[in-house]
Amino acid sequence: MAEIDVELREVSKRFGEVLAVDRVSLQIRRGEFFSLLGPSGCGKTTTLRMIGGLEFPTAGEVLLRGAVVTDLPAYRRATNMVFQHLALFPHLTVFENIAFGLRLRREPEAQIAHKVDSVLQLVDLPGYASREIHQLSGGQKQRVAIARALVNEPAVLLLDEPLGALDLKLRIQMQTELKALQHRVGTTFIYVTHDQGEALTMSDRIAVMNEGRVEQVASSQEIYTRPRTRFVAGFIGEANFLDGQVAEVTADAVCVNVGPLRVWATGDGAIAQDAHVTVSVRPEHVKLGTALGATPNRWDARVLDVTFMGSVVRAKVALGDATVLTTELQSDAAAGLGPGAIVTAGWAPQQAVVLVR
């Protein structure tokens, strides 16, 4: 069992009238790349800052490697943060920025110089020590910020949406580099982002947050294929939602009455008969025509519209009167599909999930 580096126990944070973080409990394992994912205002950054000691909870406890640090200020915690806007000291050089924390600990200059050099190598900026901050490009500043944090060998590295200011290509490149860096160094990374693609790519585990609460904590794969709540299903990737009532529960599938349709999906945990639930199925799993294999979920559908999006085609189909599904197919499979066409649509029950919330 991996050791727990960071634990939050029923942590809440209130700003005046507003409850930014609501009874969040998390356990983050040593060496993990853990992400806090959610829309703006969901409390992820506040949670990160409470781990780092820049904010203090109004309720609950924060533990770092088993020790309670809830009230400890940032300068006494074994965490280091990479800030959203980097917060590099403009009046200091790259070397002085990186050495800042080491100098505060009165380490000998020779050792400091050595450490700064190694960490610059690590982030692929050898020889940049004497540069001024304003001379650096966005990506370079990013690396200096990471170097400045890592050189202090923190137990946990906190990253607050560090890639937001970079352009798309650079961002994707940095994602790969960050992931590789984390593997090389082995430090626990806690990463905050609102970009679900980013979180899915880089993380070992993700905590999806909404309105101050944690909706689900799971690996990237599980979050995507087995979302537990409607919010998670809708926030990560795209989903079709079908609301209905549970008609039948078998050993490996659940049947839900969605209007006149009988829809089969997989359930997670105990699902009661007659419960009001939502079935979630992703557009790429909704198949049309011959692509649809053997499945109890098959109905006649009328194509409403078709949108060409490059490598894929998005189509909206209507089942009966009320239910509209979005489906995604490869472009070549969409030949001959136009508004008004009647096709067979459906999906395999394993591809759909029953959500209880």
């Binding site: 300068y75 800030f83 806007h85 917060a87 000291f89 800042f100 924390g101």
Partner: protein
């Protein structure tokens, strides 16, 4: 040259517009600038005039008034007093202004706005009224006639400026830098010294500048607090002018004007105009 090719003038190729209103505006500006310089220039002229009263054109030139100035020991003592008081008032304004501004800007607490009004109130009190009040207070406390009552009085006037300007400076300082310092292990004191202070450099310079000038040139507040012992320079000059108007004051003024020019030049050269703009427009309320 082909006669049938029509030549279209390139855009921006029109003759410059002679704008009469613009001309008038600049003439007015010129006159106003002359108006601003006139008294200062003529003080300089009369400082070197050989006549003992103000007559133009000067009958001749001489430096005898400078000679007479150097014999005026009370004036030099007054200058020294003014300097000491100004330096103390400025230093105190900067220290107290910084701590007070930090509290007002960085913390939220009950009565913050009331406190802010409290601190800025001296700005609207007429200086001469405050001078009377300070005299009565000083006599009451048996501190009349010392430099300390002057220092306190000046501090009361300069502190609001410092608080106003430094608050504006702190508001625009980057707090994430302070958080980064704390994250890297800096205690609040170290963070203030290494990160906050460099960021409010311009605000400190402007506050110090204003505080010094205000104290150095202050007449109405000092007027009732001075005796011969703690006389300040502007008050000494004021009294001198009431008794006689010989150009000794002009000679003295030459040095003061020279000092002002030096300060202006230094200020222009050292201060970053963008920082200055930000600080002045925000602190100008």
């Amino acid at each position: 040259m082909r006669p049938d090719v029509s030549v279209t003038p390139a855009t921006g190729d029109r003759p410059p517009r002679r704008d009469p209103i613009r001309l008038v505006l600049f003439v007015v500006l010129g006159l106003v600038l002359v108006y601003m310089l006139a008294p200062i220039v003529f003080v300089l002229v009369f400082a070197f005039s050989s006549a003992s009263y103000a007559i133009f054109p000067p009958p001749g030139y001489s430096v005898r008034w400078f000679m007479k100035l150097f014999g005026q020991e009370p004036l030099f003592r007054a200058a020294a007093n003014s300097l000491i008081v100004a330096l103390v008032a400025t230093a105190a304004s900067l220290v107290l202004g910084t701590t007070a501004s930090l509290a007002l800007v960085r913390y939220r607490f009950v009565g913050r706005e009331v406190l802010r009004t409290l601190f800025l109130a001296p700005l609207i009190v007429p200086r001469i009224a405050f001078g009377v009040a300070m005299l009565i207070y000083a006599v009451l406390l048996r501190r009349f006639g010392g430099l300390d009552s002057l220092m306190l009085a000046h501090l009361m006037i300069t502190l609001p400026f410092a608080i106003s300007i430094l608050s504006a400076s702190l508001v625009s300082a980057d707090r994430s830098l302070e958080e980064a310092a704390a994250d890297l292990g800096a205690t609040p004191l170290v963070t203030f010294w290494k990160v906050t202070l460099p960021q409010i450099r311009t605000g400190l310079a402007v506050s110090g500048f204003f505080a010094f000038i205000i104290s150095w040139d202050q007449v109405e507040t000092s007027l009732f607090l001075v005796k011969t012992d703690n006389m300040t320079l502007p008050v000494a000059m004021f009294y001198y002018l009431q008794r006689q108007q010989d150009p000794v004051i002009a000679a003295l003024s030459t040095f003061l004007i020279a000092l002002a020019v030096v300060v202006a030049v230094v200020a222009v050269v050292t201060v970053n105009p963008r920082d200055l703009q930000r600080v002045l427009s925000a602190g100008g309320r």
